[in-house]
């Protein structure tokens, strides 16, 4: 079915909607008003707060015969959840579609509604009063009659803008049923996001407050403790000259900037501490001090960490929540604050080697798929490439396996031999040989991956199985490495999104999606039942992406109250912080 304009869309009505709301950071939002514009008739409907709170259901049908549209609609569906309304079954989110079709372009101003309107040359007065109106709404009232009218007018201006934007978007991009279907699937995910954002992750708020109250002392204690090994800090500050001295005495080579100064960015430190494990504590300390601003962690009054998941924010379509506000940020030790409440449990469930599964399945490389299905793709690569005998195992050939793991994970990111060697302790020649073996063993995968990268560098679009796209924009400077890895990351993101949709719709309480994992919460006496359900959902989602008969296995970690979740990468730092807290 082809669509020539929005008039051809198969819906009796099309509702553009927008809520205004307020609320503290990580707390649940309180609706102020709602504006709806039915696009076919042009009719406007406006509802103030007192009326909204009495409505048991949305004012119009949310069935499949009706389309709902909004801009960054997870906000709207969050209020739907708050009000106990059924979520629409057909959602067209103009933000997700604008992001999809412009992915790979550099857009000044990002992907705001204003920018989307500008992109389509829509006339609008939005923006002129935005700051003043936002501030007025955020006061939380009470508002005078005049102010209420102002707020309603402001709310309506968004749906008026959508009335211009939506038809132009559909005409330009939504040519057929399949394309519309992809948009609706992304809309479905925005509804899932709203539910997950509402759920949040349970945090030990009492411990968090203690850490916040004593953080300055803990920071100094951390520095004193960790610096015993390095002697780099002075009065709580990292001294570059002392660090240079340390590197010299330890004979550790270090990348430098063109100016000759040491490269001290996080990525460089991260790579170096992999090659030189004696740097790990220093790296953890720097991450903790630089990025961990405890007061920024978004925890509501009810002890839940809630953040905007920022869906479709990255080029691969993955979520990109704030690293300082999200409990699953880079300071892995902080995850020790995750603690289920009384009578409850959480389960961390992640797909096994998801990206390898995606690489093998999407490329059609049966040799790689065989490696994945063996359960240990790194050992399988070692055997397939002739580095280990057929009966080799993790126990009998550990060092070979470790070397192969570096390469198997690194090549998909387009890492060079130099990069892999530096990050793993391998010799460069060794890394080169392993990379070559990878190319020879998985010829079909490389032909597919390099074909995609070449096409993308040529300026052609790439897309996932559900239509998330990327296309290098004019004036951009695309890297081959980006496009080599994009299909794996982006299709893996599709898998996660689909699992989130199915899980939230099945009534499971998903606290957070984390790259290739989901955090599930349930009463302790039902956690196993919910895990089984989620496991089946994740399996089904993997088959939908990988293809019929292909599945991604999962690993499961369960935490029952009163235990807390622990990420093993942060265990050492957690123990140190707790010890320092004890002494405060």
């Amino acid at each position: 079915m082809l669509y020539h304009s929005w008039h051809d869309l198969p819906y009796t009505k099309i509702f553009a909607c927008d809520f205004e709301f307020y609320g503290d950071d990580a707390d649940l939002k309180i609706p102020v008003c709602l504006a709806i514009r039915e696009l076919r008739s042009g009719k406007i409907y406006r509802y103030w707060q007192d009326e909204l709170l009495t409505m048991k259901e949305a004012p119009f049908s949310t069935g499949p015969e009706v389309l709902w549209t909004a801009y960054y609609s997870s906000a709207e569906w969050g209020i739907f959840h708050q009000l106990g309304w059924k979520i629409p079954e057909r959602i067209f989110d103009c933000y997700t579609e604008f992001s999809c079709e412009t992915n790979g372009q550099e857009l000044l101003g990002g992907r705001s509604l204003l920018n989307a309107l500008d992109y389509f040359k829509c006339e609008t007065s939005l923006g002129e009063e935005k700051t003043r109106m936002r501030d007025l709404i955020l006061t939380g009232g009470p508002w005078t009659k005049e102010q209420q009218l102002e707020i309603l007018d402001y709310c309506q201006s968004d749906v008026d803008a959508l009335a211009q934007l939506f038809p132009r978007m559909v005409k330009t991009w939504i040519m057929d049923e399949q394309r519309l279907g992809h948009a609706l699937l992304r809309g479905r995910y925005m509804a899932a996001v709203s539910k997950i954002e509402q759920n949040g992750t349970p945090v030990d708020i009492e411990l968090l407050r203690k850490l916040q109250d004593n953080w300055e002392k803990i920071k100094l204690g951390l520095i004193t403790e960790v610096d015993k090994e390095y002697c780099i800090y002075e009065d709580g500050h990292f001294k570059v000259a002392k660090f240079e001295n340390y590197l010299t005495t330890q004979s550790i080579p270090w990348p430098r900037l063109q100016s000759g100064s040491l490269k001290l960015d996080r990525d460089t430190f991260k790579e170096q501490q992999r090659a030189y494990p004696q740097l790990k504590s220093l790296y953890d300390l720097r991450v903790t001090l630089d990025e961990m601003k405890l007061n920024r962690l978004a925890v509501g009054k009810d002890g839940r960490n809630r953040v905007m998941l920022s869906p479709f924010r990255s080029k691969t379509g993955r979520n990109q929540p704030s690293t300082s506000r999200f409990i699953f940020g880079p300071s892995t030790w902080l995850r020790g604050l995750i603690k289920p409440t009384v009578g409850n449990s959480v389960a961390y469930i992640d797909w096994k080697s998801q990206e390898i599964a995606v690489a093998a399945a999407k490329s059609g490389d049966d040799v790689m798929w065989h490696a994945y299905s063996s359960g240990d793709p790194y050992m399988a690569f070692a055997i397939q490439s002739g580095l280990a005998p057929a009966n080799a195992t993790k126990l009998t050939h550990k060092s070979v396996r470790d070397r192969c793991k570096v390469i198997v994970l690194g090549v998909q990111y387009g890492m060079t031999a130099v990069g892999m060697a530096r990050g793993s302790g391998l010799l460069e020649a060794e890394a080169q040989d392993l990379i070559r073996r990878h190319h020879e063993t998985y010829k079909v995968f490389w032909q597919w991956a390099e074909g995609n990268a070449s096409a993308a560098l040529f300026g052609l679009p790439l897309q996932t199985c559900f239509g998330w796209k990327i296309q290098a924009g004019l004036g951009t400077d695309p890297k081959e490495r980006t496009f080599l890895n994009w299909p794996m990351q982006a299709n893996a993101a599709e898998m996660l999104r689909l699992a989130c949709c199915m899980a939230t719709e099945a009534g499971l309480k998903i606290c957070a999606p984390i790259h290739d994992a989901l955090l599930l919460e349930a009463p302790t006496d039902r956690i196993l039942e919910h895990i089984k359900c989620l496991e089946a959902i994740m399996r089904a989602a993997s088959e939908a992406v990988l293809g019929e008969g292909k599945f991604c296995g999962v690993d499961i970690q369960v935490v029952n109250y009163p235990d807390r979740y622990q990420d093993e990468r942060g265990a050492e730092m957690w123990a140190l912080v707790m010890d320092l807290l004890e002494r405060c």
Binding site: M1, Y11, Q178, L180, R188, K362
Partner: protein, 193 residues
């Protein structure tokens, strides 16, 4: 409802399998490697190489080696016959290394009078082995011959350029074909320039 088809309900986002797209985008984007340089040489002692087994990729030619500049010229049979002192006959076999770079493996031909030496014999032996195995050839002065190592566990088959011998020779000897008496090289050799 769709004014063209009032019964159409549109796509169902709760049935993702019906929305699945198989191709990523690069599947039909054919990229062909273009060889602009094909060296004429022996393999280096550190290099693992394979030789194309087909007779269609071997030839005997007359060459002049400008050792000072490291350039090998090829002459037509007529020129080689007219200036026998300047040219020597060598065999060329298409070979490829582990990096996938093709080259012509230059080797001495069999002496028509049956005279031979260990260097030439071991050289040809290495080429013969390289047709089926990855080999590394290095010289052993004590032995007075080339030594050949093979890598029996290396099963990967080489990728050969998609060109015929004529095309490969044109690339290898572009601008270095001597087909007339007036070629600058011959003039130099005759002391005319």
């Amino acid at each position: 409802m769709n004014q063209h088809n009032p019964n159409s309900r549109g796509p169902n986002p709760f049935d993702p399998k019906s929305l699945s797209v198989r191709h990523t985008g690069g599947e039909n984007f054919a990229v062909k490697k273009v060889h602009t340089v094909i060296p004429v040489r022996k393999p280096s002692p550190k290099e693992w190489v394979r030789v194309h087994p087909s007779e269609e990729y071997q030839i005997f030619v007359a060459v002049f080696e400008d050792k000072e500049n490291g350039i090998t010229y090829i002459a037509t049979p007529e020129i080689a016959t007219e200036f026998p002192a300047e040219f020597k006959f060598v065999g060329l076999r298409l070979a490829v290394n582990r990096q996938g770079s093709p080259f012509f493996w230059k080797h001495p031909p069999l002496d028509p009078d049956g005279r031979d030496n260990l260097w030439n014999a071991s050289h040809r032996e290495a080429i013969a082995r390289a047709q089926s195995d990855w080999v590394k050839m290095g010289s052993n002065r004590n032995l007075g011959a080339y030594e050949c190592q093979i890598a029996p566990n290396l099963k990967a088959e080489p990728e050969w350029p998609d060109l015929d011998l004529q095309q490969l020779l044109e690339i290898a000897f572009r601008g270095r074909l001597i087909s007339t008496r007036d070629h600058i090289l011959l003039q130099q050799l005759r002391g005319e320039v």
